[in-house]
Amino acid sequence: MEQRNPTLRSVGWLWFGIAVAVLVVGFRQAIFLTPTDAAQGDAGRIFYYHVPTAMLSLIFPYLNFAASLAYLFWRTRDPLKALSADAFALASAEVAVVYASITLITGSIWGRVAWGIWWTWDARLTSMLLLWLLYVSYLMLRRFSATGQSQTLAAVLSVFAAVDVPIVYMSIRWWRTQHPAPVFGGGPNSGMDKSMLPAFFWNLAAWAIWGIFILIFRFALQRRRQFAEQEAALQAIEASLEIPQ
């Protein structure tokens, strides 16, 4: 078991420490060091939390997709590997939901300040909401189905969800959008002011490190649960084997 391993455990603590440290640096950069945005005032600082989490929340679903495919592939060939793929899929789905939630919340707070409304059915926002809904329904399925079958069914649903996400993007591209255009790789006016860059990258790094930390932590937890279950079953088998027949 990986968690019982002391070196891995200290690596885990180290990673946690780094995550917290970088989050603190990012916070300092974003709140105290960067000049106030001319147009939006201090509310513009939500940018440093909204955009990194938004970007990351688009990555975790694909980790979930990859893990689910791996699960489906290994399901009959190598059940043990399949189990760890499943644990990873579950962990990444949960992290995806968390990050999407943060994006939605920071976004709507920002929207309240910038646009005067909490929500609008604009392409970006709607697609983000759908992403959130898809992965919440993934977690719901895992809750509702009986033990033993939930993993396969969840993996199947994950394939659907992953196919759906690009379709969502495509299908609402034609809507008029209120949400700002992409900062990177957009038109000639895209890109951000130099003064904002350090804060942005510190925060992006911080949220990425933090996300990976909770992903692995959740993964290890789920693995431990799986091992405990297996061990209990194994013990039951072994105990019964000792009884002379």
Binding site: L141, A146, V163
Partner: protein
């Protein structure tokens, strides 16, 4: 060819089962009708004809969506009743034929409901279609198939879960939202004549793409779902 025969066998069986009871179709029809009435009461169509035209595409699809959700659940509950499903799993015929047969049967049922509902809907909401009516004959089946193919699949997926009836909408709605969006936009576009031909075309193309992609995935993954213990 054998595959086709199997699909037809399943389809015939489902139609026969439905014919013996007629529960699904009658239920769906009445349910959809009620939803239309509820919306009629809630929104007062006569008072605001323009508003009505704007929302009626949405109302139509929402009514069909909820009506079909119950019927889709029923269609698998039949297989579950005497554990017939286990017999299906033991049969050497390909699993996906069962899926295709059932999806086709459900498609037929919902189409029948639509055929009854459409005129009633128009009368009730006092609609004058401003756009090209014939486009609706394309949009309706495409949208229906999008609902039905995913619905049949997810009803099977939730089959052995604790609260089947509750689970299906929870899974189906998020997955079908893009299709729903396309259907509603296209339908409303035709009703109000607000969208030009190119825009409607785009929505229809998306619907076709959605149908093709999801039908393929469903067929590929159905066996896995059926045999997930």
């Amino acid at each position: 060819m054998t595959y086709l025969h199997h699909v037809l066998d399943h389809l015939r069986k489902d139609l026969r089962l439905e014919w013996r009871s007629r529960d699904s179709i009658n239920g769906m029809l009445f349910f959809a009708l009620l939803v239309v009435v509820v919306f009629g009461l809630a929104f007062d169509p006569a008072g605001y004809p323009t508003t009505t035209r704007q929302i009626s595409g949405g109302v139509l699809w929402v009514a069909l969506l909820f009506a079909s959700i119950t019927a889709l659940n029923l269609s698998w509950a039949r297989e579950l009743r005497n554990q017939v499903l286990e017999a299906q799993r033991m049969a050497p015929a390909p699993a996906s034929a069962l899926f295709v047969g059932k999806a086709l049967a459900n498609m037929l049922f919902v189409l029948v409901v639509e055929a009854f509902l459409a005129p009633i809907f128009i009368v009730f909401f006092n609609l004058h279609v401003l756009g090209n009516v014939w486009l609706l004959a394309l949009i309706l089946p495409l949208g229906t198939w999008a609902l039905v193919v995913n619905g049949t699949f997810f009803a099977a997926l939730g089959l052995r879960a604790r609260n089947r009836e509750l689970l299906l909408p929870l899974l189906l709605l998020p997955i079908s939202l893009p299709a729903l969006l396309a259907m509603v936009q296209a339908t409303t576009g035709v009703l109000t004549a607000d969208l030009d031909a190119i825009q409607i075309n785009t929505w229809i193309k998306q619907l076709v793409g959605y149908d093709i992609i999801f039908t393929t995935i469903c067929i590929l993954l159905f066996e896995t779902v059926l045999n997930a213990e």
